[in-house]
């Protein structure tokens, strides 16, 4: 399989993630969408590393995964806190940043 197939897969995954982020009303769902988008990027990095025979991309991916884990942990923690305070995780109701 060529590079194009991997990139297509990554693009599809990214689009699905973006769609999820935009359409989901639940905060957890939005976080899941963000995960998908990040993993699409990871696929891109790994694919380029493989086809360019350059190990740097793979190392970079490992870092991305670590950071993603941290981000998810933080995101879930914030969500739980919001739920405790506001008794809801629906994004429509969380508009404190409204100007």
């Amino acid at each position: 399989m060529g590079l194009g197939a991997y990139l297509t897969l990554a693009a599809a995954l990214f689009a699905i993630g973006l769609f999820g982020v935009i359409t989901r009303r639940n905060t957890i769902g939005i976080l899941l969408g963000i995960e998908l988008m990040l993993n699409a990027v990871n696929i891109n990095l790994v694919a380029f590393a493989r086809f360019n025979a350059d190990v740097v991309g793979m190392i970079f991916t490992v870092f991305t995964i670590c950071i993603t884990v941290a981000e998810v942990a933080l995101g879930l923690a914030i969500t739980i806190l919001i739920f405790r305070i506001r008794r809801t995780v629906v994004a429509d109701h969380l508009d404190l940043l409204k100007g």
Binding site: L18, V21, I22, A91, L94, D95, L97, K98
Partner: protein, 615 residues
């Protein structure tokens, strides 16, 4: 210790120390008497230093001490220091002497004041002494101008010493503004002179003038501008209106600032700069004629005043006119001599008037009457001062006034001479009018009950009076022997003319106000229109008030309108627009995360399209 500049510097710094200590150490100032003693002791020391400086510099020549204040690569921009020569150290003695005596006198005169305000008074006095000495010793125009403004400030502060009285506050502002008007001209003159010659330094300017290197083109404007400053300070027509109003201040202040020292600063400046003014004969002529006119105008005005201090104030204006006329005629030394003698006897007259006011609690000469019997000492010293002012032989003003009259003739101004001679007659008349009304005659009826409290001055006030009276007589007797460097041959007969008009003036006053052979009402009727005009002060004060109210206040109002409605209006519109735009833009911040993601996604797409767009 034989360097005059060093001694002069000592004299200059002693009052500065006194001022700084009193200004910084609050408790000392509020203690009042401690502040007074500190100031008096230091000014006595300054007097000693000034006399020492004069003694070592009397041999001639000069000595300088300079410090660069604003250093720059091509020579310092501004230099401070002292320039001690015969004239400046002599003037320094006058300043230190009168300042010291006035400070002693004030202890008695202001004994009813609260302690903090007494401390304030002595703080101002110290600042004034420092500023005036700095002016006298200034080696260049920069320092001269700084000190010039400082003495103006002190004058403002001391005229307004009783600042709760509206008249005093008003007079202080009037004095400040009118002298400022002249000072603006002077600043322009100084800068123009610097532009033409590239230096502020007096000695360098003198060298340039001697070498004929000062460009004559436009020099008339420069000297005229400098004369404007001198005219403002020295109360020459038409700037003389501030000086009589300045009498709202305490009497010792009038004696020091508005008779002996500050108002003579203009004369002193012209004396110092006379070699510059000689290059512009036209301006010299203006100085001479305006001086004579001022002398006459003020003498006429003095004849109709009923306030003893105002008589003296107009008399000061008149005598300053004499000095200016002598300088304008080209003989500055005559003007300077009169400055020194006038400083002594006019301070004496003012302090004497202060003793009278202190005792009788009124300024109006018609409410005094018969003081001669109740205040014999004060009467003697006051008469000595009046005789000096009138120009009677063996009294202080005689020799210098005769010198001025001779100078105007020798300088080729017979018209000025005639005016000044007539003004001398008026001078004798108005001074003895005051004496016969206030000191002679029967006690005024209003004092029937309170006769017991009118008595001679307490020692603090009497001693300075006697010192000044002795000096006035001593100067009159000894001055002809140590003959001032006579620059000209005065025609004979001037002496007799001067004595004659003075005696005539005294005789007229005697006949009118003492013997009442000639009724004062008849005299008034004969001089009807002039008297009315003089009582209205020739409408000059009204004119100034009209200029102030009609033009300056309206102009200020117009400027205020422009600022309030045009300048502020533009800014208000701009800020309103900014607020409105912000309010509109605010609405795109919905607070919904999805909307922001939309924004980011659309932005990325737009960026991609823009980057990939075929060009």
């Amino acid at each position: 210790m034989t360097d005059p500049a060093f001694l002069a510097l000592t004299a200059l710094l002693l009052p500065a120390v006194s001022f700084l200590v009193l200004a910084i150490v609050g408790p000392l100032r509020r203690h009042g008497h401690a502040a007074a003693y500190l100031s008096i002791v230091l000014s006595a020391a300054a007097l000693v230093a000034a006399v020492a400086a004069w003694r070592v510099s009397a041999a001639g020549g000069f000595s300088e001490r300079l410090w660069s204040w604003i250093p720059a690569e091509a020579g310092p921009l501004a230099v401070l220091g002292v320039l001690a020569d015969g004239d400046s150290t002599l003037m320094l003695i006058l300043v230190a002497l009168v300042s010291f005596l006035v400070q002693v006198y004030s202890l008695g005169y202001l004994s009813d004041e609260t302690l903090p305000s007494l401390g304030r008074y002595y703080t101002y006095q110290s600042l004034f002494a420092f500023s005036m000495m700095g002016l006298v010793l200034a080696p260049n125009f920069v320092q001269l101008f700084i000190c010039w403004e400082l003495v103006g400030l002190c004058s403002y502060l001391l005229i307004g010493y009783w600042y709760t009285r509206p008249e005093a506050a008003r007079a202080a502002v009037k004095a400040f503004w009118i002298t400022r008007a002249g000072d603006t001209g002077m600043l322009v003159g100084i800068v123009l002179l610097w532009y033409q010659t590239g230096t502020f330094d007096f000695l360098q300017l003198l060298q340039l003038a001697d070498a004929g290197l000062i460009p004559l083109e436009g020099l008339g404007v420069i000297t005229f501008c400098i004369y404007l400053g001198a005219a403002g300070k020295s109360a020459q027509f038409p700037f003389h209106v501030w000086l009589p109003d300045a009498m709202e201040g305490p009497t010792p202040v009038s004696a020091l600032i508005h008779a002996a020292t500050m108002v003579t600063a203009g004369v002193y400046l012209l004396t110092r700069m006379v070699w510059l003014f000689r290059l512009t004969p036209d301006v010299m002529e203006i100085v001479a004629w305006n001086g004579a006119f001022t002398a006459l105008l003020a003498a006429v005005l003095a004849c109709v005043q009923t306030d003893i201090k105002r008589v003296l104030a107009y008399s000061t204006v008149s005598q300053l006119g004499y000095m200016m006329a002598a300088i304008g005629a080209g003989f500055a030394s005559a003007g300077f001599l009169h400055l020194l003698t006038h400083g002594i006897f006019k301070a004496l007259l003012f302090l004497g008037a202060g003793a009278v006011i202190h005792a009788s609690a009124t300024n109006d000469i018609f409410q005094m009457g018969g003081l001669g019997r109740r205040m014999p000492q004060t009467t003697i010293v006051f008469v000595v001062g009046a005789l000096s002012l009138a120009g009677i032989p063996f009294f202080g003003g005689f020799f210098s006034k005769e010198e001025i009259l001779g100078a105007t003739l020798a300088g080729g101004f017979p018209g000025v001479f005639a005016i000044l001679l007539f003004a001398a007659f008026l001078t004798a008349f108005y001074m003895f009018r005051v004496i016969f009304i206030a000191f002679g005659g029967a006690p005024a009826p209003s004092h029937g009950g309170g006769e017991s409290h009118v008595h001679d001055a307490p020692p603090f006030m009497a001693v300075p009076l006697w010192i000044l009276a002795l000096l006035a007589v001593g100067v009159g007797i000894f001055l002809p022997f140590v003959r001032w460097q006579a620059e000209f041959e005065a025609p004979h007969g001037i002496t007799y003319a001067a004595i004659t008009v003075a005696v005539l003036g005294i005789a007229l006053a005697y006949l009118v106000y003492q013997r009442r052979v000639i009724s004062a009402d008849t005299l008034a009727a004969v001089l009807g229109p002039i008297r009315v005009a003089a009582q209205r002060r020739f409408w000059l004060d009204d004119l100034f008030a009209g200029i102030y109210r009609g033009i300056m206040l309206r102009f200020a109002w117009a400027v205020g309108w422009v600022d309030r409605y045009l300048v502020d209006g533009v800014l208000n519109v701009l800020s309103a627009w900014t607020l409105m735009a912000g309010d509109r833009l605010r609405r795109i911040q919905t607070g919904q995360p999805q909307d922001y993601v939309y924004g980011v996604a659309l932005g990325v797409i737009a960026l991609l399209v823009w980057m990939r767009w075929p060009r």
